[in-house]
Each structure stands twice: as C-alpha cells, then as structure tokens.
Subunit: 197 residues, 4 copies
C-alpha cells in the first residue's frame, strides 16, 4: 500500500468488503463476539488500528455488509414484483430469487441469523424495517391472489412469514435430502397447494 494516497469512497468500500470477507469464516466458526479485532486485522492482512480507518468500531463491520445485503434482496424483490405476472408466479419467483441469493451468500446470511442480535438496538431496528417491508410485499401478493380468487382466505401476513421462514432452514439444514432448490420446490408446492383453492 503506497502511503499518502487518499482512497476514494469506492476504494474504501472495496477494502471494507475485503476485510469483511477475510473475517467471515472466522465470524461464523467462532462467533462475532468471540473474534477479536487483532484476529480480524491478521486475517485481513493489515494492522490492528488500520481497521479503524475503515470501520468506526467492531459493530460497524457487521452493519456495513448487512445493510447492503438487505438492500439487494429488497430491490430484487421489488423488481420481480413489478413484472406483469400472476401473484402466484411472482411469489414463486421472489422466493426462488431469495433462496438463490442466500445460497450465493450462504455464510453471510448464516452470520446475520445468529449474530444479527449482537448489533445495537438502533441497528437492529433498521434491519427489522427492511424485513417488514419484505414481509409486506409478500403479504400484498397473497392478498392479491385472494382477491383474484386464486388463493383461499388465509391470513396473508401469517402465510407470508410462514413462507419466508422456511427458506433459511432449507439452506442450512445439516440433513439435506437434495439441493436447496429442490427442497424449496417441494416446500413451495406444499405451500401453494395449501393456500390455493
């Protein structure tokens, strides 16, 4: 690293990602709290205090990447939701996209499920806002299906959450019976069968 050259915001973000990726495995293996800044610095191949040039404190390392991931899933879902397709198909596509995204960022989401609670309550609330938006989008889709007479009169929010909550376990089960995508299709079938008239 040449000294004295000012990093652009993009370069900074790039480095931030590198740092996070370097530490991700250890975060998962030992837990976020249990991983020390010294360890993170070593994994990232930099000095302890240089971390503080990229993140204000330890928690920020967690938040930075989480915000991005949440944003990405939400945006992708919004894009799909805007397509001129039936509620049923959009629902399936969103869940498939969501699954795919988690599969691709498997470690990241694993970390969030278990270490997200380590963030300050302020940051936890922001994360929850995102989750609510997502739930509401699926709820809206189910409501549309009900109004269009495709789905039975189920509680749309309960159903939406039921569906969302099946994704994570599919990716992380220690006893998979097939590829996540295959298991997810099975679940989607049961679910769709269960809410369709």
């Amino acid at each position: 690293m040449p000294k004295g050259i000012v990093l652009t915001t993009d370069e900074q973000n790039h480095r931030r990602h590198e740092i996070f990726e370097a530490a991700l495995d250890t975060f998962i293996e030992k837990g976020f709290v249990e991983t020390s800044m010294r360890e993170i610095a070593e994994l990232a191949g930099m000095g302890k205090s240089s971390l503080y040039d990229y993140f204000g404190n330890k928690e920020d390392i967690l938040i930075f990447v989480m915000e991005e991931a949440l944003e990405n899933v939400l945006n992708n879902a919004r894009r799909i939701n805007a397509l001129p397709l039936s509620p049923e198909v959009r629902l399936r596509q969103i869940i498939e996209m969501h699954l795919e995204y988690i599969v691709e960022n498997k470690k990241l989401f694993y970390l969030f499920s278990y270490e997200g609670r380590r963030m300050s309550s302020e940051n936890q609330q922001r994360a929850q806002q995102g989750r609510y938006m997502y739930q509401d989008m699926l709820r809206g889709l189910i409501e549309q299906g009900i109004q269009q007479g495709i789905f039975r009169e189920v509680d749309p929010l309960v159903a939406a959450r039921m569906l969302i909550n099946t994704i994570i376990p599919v990716v992380y089960t220690s006893r998979p019976t097939g590829a996540p995508q295959v298991m997810m299709q099975e679940i989607l079938d049961i679910f769709m069968n269960g809410i369709q008239k």
Copy 2:
C-alpha cells in the same frame, strides 16, 4: 440461605432453576456471552462464587435447563405418537403440544435458538441428536400418512422440517396477527391442505 446444611439433589436442582430464571431475561436482552457471572450472581441474589456450587461453569447454566426442555418435548411427543389416532391427528396434536410448550417457556426457547450455538460442540451435538429424533418422529408420521394414502407423495423429511420451522417464528414474531395458537392453526391448515390428497 442457610449456611452449612446439606442440600439434597432436588433442592440443588430447584436452586439451579432459580438461578437460571433470575438470569433468563438478561440472557435474552444482552445475550449469554454478554452477561457476566457477576451479573448473574447479582440477579440471583448470591455471591459470585456461589454460582460455582451449582454449576461447574458458565456453559453449564445453559445446558442444565436445555437438556430438561428437550427431554420434555421429546417425551410428550412420544406419548402422543403412541396414541391410537390417525397420523394426521397425531401430527396436529404433537405440533400443538410443541407450540404450547414453547409458549409456556417462551423465553427459554428464544434463548436456545439464538444462544445454543454458544455451547461447546459436544453439547451442541447432543442437542442435535434430540432434534433429529424429533424430526424423524414427524417424518415417520408423514410417511405413515403417505402409505395410508392420506397424504401426497411429498419428501417426508423436508415436510417435517418445514412444519417444525414454522413454530418458533409464530411464537416470537414482533407483528402477531393473533394468538400463537390461532396463527398456528392457520399454518397447520395451509400445511395439511398442502400435503393432503
């Protein structure tokens, strides 16, 4: 607290429960790792070192209660499974019992979902054994239903886990649309509808 009197095993267990209950809220609020032994002692109204008369170390506090809870759910499920009822009815009753047990021990199970990973791998394995047994019991029920022609030919293990994984979110959602029991009935309806012929 009397000083030199010998405690019976029962009294010891009672005290252990008291200590755990005293600390439970803080475990949940701040996390198990983030709660210090000093804090636990204060909450339990005893000296720091007296904790070690009841638990060998910090982790044991977690294990002691978890072991019990797991055992209870498993035993209850076995009892129901042995009743001369149709697979469908037994499935519903087990899930209802399970839900009820979690509702009654809401905080406890919340803690296990999020802090279970803090246990030593040895203890995590024992917990997983229990979970596997439970999953297998439900899988067996679904298989029976399939054989009896009541259920469609779904992947029984995927279906069993799908069902199990909906319980926790029902109890802990921050946006409930009704009593957990009511939400669970909705989910059971969707699920049963989804797997029935």
Copy 3:
C-alpha cells in the same frame, strides 16, 4: 514510552529484562506464585496488559531469563574447558567462574533454585538438560584427572555433583564467614585435597 513505534527484537529483549529486574526482588521476597501480574506491572511501571506484549504468560517471565543464564554459564564453562590446562586447574577455574556468575546474578539464581519448580514440566526438563550437560563436563574433567593419575578413583559423577552443590549455599548462607570467593577457596581446597592422591 512511545506508543506506536515498532520495537526491534533487541529493544523488546531489553524491555523484557527491565520488567524482570523490576519484579525480581518481589519474586524472591514473596515467591513467584505469590506475586501477581498486577504487582509486576506496577513494579515495571506499566499497565497490567502491556506485560502480555512482552511475555505470553506469567511463566514466560521466568523462563526468558533462566534460559539466558543457563546458556551463559554453560558457554563460559565450555570455553574454559577447552583451554590447554591441567584438569585440576580447569576444574578450579570453572567453579570460580560459576561462583562469580552466581555472585553477580545472586538474586536470579536464588529465584531459580526455589521457584524453578513452578515452571511447566516441559521447561523444567529443558533446564535439567542444561544441568546434565554441565555435570557431565565436570565429570569428564574428574575422569581425566583420574586417568592422568592426579585424582583418586572416586565416583566422578558423585564428586562433580558434590562440588556443584556447594556453590549455591556459599553464596546464600545467612552466616557467611567471609567473602563467597574465600569460602569457596576453602571448599575447593577440601575438595581437591579429598580427591587428590
């Protein structure tokens, strides 16, 4: 103490010595086990945790200096042993050097005699290796003397150890009858007289 400057290995070793020297008196007065890291830090004029930048743990403080001292005595003895002098003269010179070294590092050796047992067995073994080498060197000298007909046919290892074991008490007696060097001459005379023909 400058804060962010990188210390060279030499500077580190120098600081290590300073820390040890600062704590030496207390080690002797109260014992190594009985001296706390907090105390050592205070005596060394630094923060408790800074000690761990110089020593991996408490035991390492002991080992670091011991290793050096052992090495020094052994090397000096080897140098003298290589001189073209009679066994008798070499024996005398080695013992005199040894005495001198202990006199100069009086506290250090006192500490080792009494607190060496506090080291991990692994480190104790390494120390014993050094002692054996030293014993064997003196034994060799005595054997040479016997072969050359200067000394009587004594058990050379027993004699070597007899001689070595007289040094420490000479330095540390609480009732000295003269300078250690003088007392040692007296002992060497008795010893030489005792083994000579």
Copy 4:
C-alpha cells in the same frame, strides 16, 4: 467418627499426622500453594471446615510437621554427639543418621526444601534457629578434631555447611549412581580425606 466425643491431644496429633500424610504427595507434586484446602480435605477424607479443627490455617499444616522433624534430627544428633567417640566417628555417625532420617522421610524433606519458604517469616526464623544449632554442633565437632590435631586448620563452619549441603542432593538426585548410603560414603570419604591431615 463418632460425634460429641472430645479428642485427646494425642489423638489430635495423630489425626494431624494423618491429614498431613494424606496430602503430602500432592503437596510435592503440585506445590503447597497450588494445593487447595478442598483438595486436602478430600485427600484426608473429611469435610473442608473440619481441617480447621486440627489446624488454625493452611500454613499451620506445614509448620506442625516441620517442627517435629527438625526436633527429631536435632535430638538424634545430640545423642550421638554425647557418645564417647572420636570427633571423626561422631561426625560420620551424625551424617549417616541424618541421611537415614531424610531417606526415611524423603518426601517430607523434599517438601521442606522447596516449600519451607512459603511459611511466614516468623516460622522461617524458628526453623533457621534449629538449623543454626545443628550447624554449630557439627562445627564444634570439626573444631575438636582440629584441636586434637586430627583435622587440618579449615574454616570449621564452612566445612560443616559444606558437609550438610551435600546430603539433600544425594537423596534427591535424578541421576543416582548407587544407593544414597553408598554415594554418601563416597562423599564422606572425599570430605574426610579433604580435612584430615
């Protein structure tokens, strides 16, 4: 142990010995400081607090037996010293008796050499008084020998201590070349040879 029966002083002393003997091996293996009262109690097969019925505190356990041992050696030496024998023979007999006593109470003396320093300075002084008496007795013997023209004009105190300091290593060497008694004879020969005219 029947309750309510008052122990005589002799019975108390007997129990004290039992407690000490039970813990002796552990004292040596791990060190006195490193052995906890709980451990001692377990080894002695009694309750923690019952120890305090026999010893005022942890240190007293060490002192009690040490005083006895010192007293015994001193008395035996005095008895031999009063025999109508030549200084040379008395010297040899005392050292032989001393060696025998250490061999028979090997562990005990090993403990004192290394853990004696753990006693309060008050108790250490009492122990030193005893040692001085013993040294002076041997010094007196050597002085007699010099006056009688049997021994050369050596420093009698230095010589006495030289002799005393060879006993412990003979018993505890990790590389014995024979029975302690045999090695001691070798040393006595060298010593006598060294001081005789």
